[in-house]
Symmetry: C2
Subunit: 440 residues, 2 copies
Amino acid sequence: MKSIKVGLLGIGNVGSGTFNVLQRNQEEIRRRAGRGIEIAMVAARNTARAIELTGAACPVVSDPYLVVDHPDIDIVVEVIGGYELARELVLRAIANGKHVVTANKALLAVHGNEIFAAAQEKGVMVAFEAAVAGGIPIIKALREGLTANRIEWIAGIINGTTNFILSEMRDKGLDFGVVLKQAQELGYAEADPTFDIEGVDAAHKATIMSAIAFGIPVQFDKAYVEGISSLSAVDIRYAEQLGYRIKLLGITKRAMVDGVEGIELRVHPTLIPSKRLIANVEGAMNAVLVQGDAIGATLYYGKGAGAEPTASAVIADLVDITRLATADPEHRVPHLAFQPNAMTDIQILPMSDITTSYYLRMHVSDQPGVLADLTRILADAGISIDAMLQKEPAEGETRTDIIMLTHQAQEKKVNAAIAKMEALPTVLGSVTRIRLENLS
Amino acid sequence: MKSIKVGLLGIGNVGSGTFNVLQRNQEEIRRRAGRGIEIAMVAARNTARAIELTGAACPVVSDPYLVVDHPDIDIVVEVIGGYELARELVLRAIANGKHVVTANKALLAVHGNEIFAAAQEKGVMVAFEAAVAGGIPIIKALREGLTANRIEWIAGIINGTTNFILSEMRDKGLDFGVVLKQAQELGYAEADPTFDIEGVDAAHKATIMSAIAFGIPVQFDKAYVEGISSLSAVDIRYAEQLGYRIKLLGITKRAMVDGVEGIELRVHPTLIPSKRLIANVEGAMNAVLVQGDAIGATLYYGKGAGAEPTASAVIADLVDITRLATADPEHRVPHLAFQPNAMTDIQILPMSDITTSYYLRMHVSDQPGVLADLTRILADAGISIDAMLQKEPAEGETRTDIIMLTHQAQEKKVNAAIAKMEALPTVLGSVTRIRLENLS
């Protein structure tokens, strides 16, 4: 059977990884797929470098439209990243009747609905395993492996940069800024690390997982996004003393608010019990924990980034498409896991409506009645306390930290209680609030 | 589109779980699959109980051949277990042109080659996600998610009963026999626990994973199988002191012996570093660690048994078949991951040829020269020592334990060295040998 011809848009990190793994394992892949998968054309800004990387094994062009318009190309792999050009190229490839594989989470989280609708219309596939958690086959698990389940929630460490930074901050007791600099030197963080450290990248991925878990459109604009740049080493230390670790989690879950079903979709630093398996995912590794009603909790762990791990997912998509290309479009796995005519309109909840537990740290004057005032505010708001830690003031100091872990409470109630606490003369500065999930 | 009609053979634990989850989540599943999946007929020895369980929702028969021969049934789900009847029914269903879903690892590990060949011939699918690690979609990960990779090795905690027993032995310092009895009372171990505790069940699963990882036939008869029944609490304790935990692992890996490629396929208690994520998989949970050349290590964790977790896998297979039933048979996922005409004949190695590290415990007379004799024997055999632990004899005792961890060595060399050690007059009784894997 003749080979499937792939056009590669971009030959940076992931693109060259894809080229290399396809070359190295071509026999293994052919034995699985039943036919060859061949990079037939590459588009790259730097054509000289592309020719060097590919050893002139296939035509290299600088104009990506030559790839998406080429009649011999069966599948277009988009690994250039970014929004506008990527969107145009992907839509054009679809319009030309080509299947698409993309590793571009930003593109899908923002323009996914438009892209999937166009693909549906044309009867082509847009595959995106590489867009979430690199090589870990989490999209496949959610869309296919767990089809029997009503998914209840997903919580994932889906950004390696921030997990590396948090692991280092905890291990070495260092502050955020110091570790970020090290991470940049080691290549774990980019020169402009904003997308990673502010949680945007994780929110793109959580948005995609939310859609395929619950059968809703991708809605990145409704995601709550909070990064790790304002996290202090002191809170990591206190969390540790209380039996918790702080991880940047992408969380999406079903919730009921006043009898109406909603979806939580949020990325923020989160305390999780240290004994949970996912709390022990260290360094740049990723892991996604999924709770389904039939299966209970399952966890998927591996490298969430890097040339070859990401290429592993891109190529798995290529093999899947190779297998399904001849099948009736109505019998393929739906892009967003549910049939396009069977999506729901459950709304994503505003952050004030979500319910979780909280870590609160108050810097207070060490004088009688402080604790009584604080606990009274929480009691009046109906928020109950699960654990507390009060430090003795340091020698010669008259100020100290009080840390409280709350039971589950609605965010708006907690925020209102925090405002009252901050108004107390004995509470100095603002209250530190970090969300806590038991993941049980 | 009309519903897919499923015939259920057996309505015990997994069968009733499948029935219940399909009923409960029928809307969710239909929204994903694009059509309904309906249990149209059930065969059960105890028909009265089956009628009670199904609420008379579909015909119940006592003769399973009525199901496999029924013209309206599209897919047969075999969850009766055992070898002979299951084999006959599965082959008959295939001969009748029906797709098959089975949770029966024993059947596939022993009769898989015959069954897959028959299915291939007839152009039907035999799906078996539920046969390995319950609901965890590990078959899907290996056959589809990791297609880009040359798989290097797999190591899995794939038997919940033994993992529960080992976790309890470690946590509570109890002996095997005591914990086994508790496990039986709690329903974690069967009245006749042989298959679980002697490693047979894990070896069935490892055999299946080995075949799909490396493109070889299933060869249960070549698997090395060693259970946990002779494991002592003292070794678990010493391992802990050295930074290791003991788990029953199913291991399969590529190896080179004298320049010839072979496959290791073995189940045995194994020391693994405590800090590895998989070492922290406790109780009846399962986890499989897979090393691929592109992706590195990935881990898949969840419940490996139980009615609904196993049903989750059975139903995922039903949805997959529903999707692929209309597709060209040549474009489906091959049963054993590789195309039937692209399997290899790499041989499974005899246990004497495998290479791993070892934990050795010698009970010795506490007298001068003992250690020199022992280390000399290892040095002569070219086996190097990675760590050592020598306990002071207890008050009034003249005997003590010496524990050594070796670097990698070939099993036959280690066995020969052990024989020499046991011949020393200072070594009392036999040397305890437990294999050790770093999994890095």
